[in-house]
Symmetry: C2
Subunit: 223 residues, 2 copies
Amino acid sequence: WHACAGGMVQMPPARSRVYYFPQGHAEHANGGGGSAAAELAAAVGPRPLPALVLCCVAGVRFLADPETDEVFAKIRLVPVGPGEAGFREPEGLGGDPAEARDKLASFAKTLTQSDANNGGGFSVPRYCAETIFPKLDYRADPPVQTVLAKDVHGEVWKFRHIYRGTPRRHLLTTGWSTFVNQKKLVAGDSIVFLRTEHGELCVGIRRAKRVTCGGMERTRRTR
Amino acid sequence: WHACAGGMVQMPPARSRVYYFPQGHAEHANGGGGSAAAELAAAVGPRPLPALVLCCVAGVRFLADPETDEVFAKIRLVPVGPGEAGFREPEGLGGDPAEARDKLASFAKTLTQSDANNGGGFSVPRYCAETIFPKLDYRADPPVQTVLAKDVHGEVWKFRHIYRGTPRRHLLTTGWSTFVNQKKLVAGDSIVFLRTEHGELCVGIRRAKRVTCGGMERTRRTR
DNA sequence: TTGTCGGCCGATCGCCGACAA
DNA sequence: TTGTCGGCGATCGGCCGACAA
């Protein structure tokens, strides 16, 4: 899902030509998780570095880690000889994904302490509630509904969406803390809600870059 | 630890001669976890099967899976040519381990529903409480103490041991449910308490053979 | 002797409006 | 508009003796 990966990530379409940069791949694979091929292969265009290999994108598979929900892509590359015909720039790179993207409405929010602390609730920004979520019946008092959202694995999460308080605001209550615990979200992580063209509601997460500092305290609301 | 593996398991001492049975090793490794070498190499003595390899036990290491606490052993085997001298039967097999075993007192109990259900407590059989656990001060009312026990990894678990109720019985209360949850114990699994010759208290677990049936319900005390 | 149950008390969870940034 | 807090009600964990097997 593009919404989870972030707006900076652009994937080359199939059958386009890219340069494979072996040294970067090796360094990346050393340092972190196994999802090395993805961003590197996306570094389209020639660079002033040795050992560039012109390749043809044979296939792209969008995947997600079943445990951490980390999204990555597997890109099959087939080397192309310099003399071979049919050199084609990945021309659609600027237009295609952007065009596809505004067919679906999406909204991202970075979790606050209050969202992540086990107080149990999530403050829904008005824009998100009004454009992404199903319409609320504002005649009810208070207006409440159950919201269902699918994650990257197709698993459905159930949230109680209520519009209450003075002044009025949108909140997710029941179901939210379960989601936070299962996904192991902390303040600083981001959550993405999006509605597909079929009107289906989806939810994704993007984790903050973890500060690998020792004395990091897991803030739990003190009473 | 022998107490966890059960009384049926006997390990060959170092430098003894055993027969390695390659086919069984291969079948076992296919079916289950990685702890293949252990029991197979323990099948001491010639069998009416082809492809037996006479080996010398070069070393035995007693290990435990850090996640499941499953105990197993790694046995280094060195093949011995049929003509080589010094053929020595593992003569000490009957006497040695048995003798070593009654130096330390141990007690095993299969967990009942009440022990495993999150009611929070564990019924300690009188024999276990009186011979394995530290002595209680029966003058107190009720007699209580804190019991510390090490598991196979050296991790220390803390239990509240109390002698109460009418009629009186020994119970583990505080600390027990944490232990059950962390070790993922269910009714039917067994727990082993033992006291080493240094008076140190240890705790081990032996899981029941899981029935891989679909509709197995996780019984939780209904209210 | 010890397995299971109902009772019950206290801790925690999580929903709420009141503020204020 | 929305982040954080104190309050407080409902739920649940877990300790207890009463039985009975």
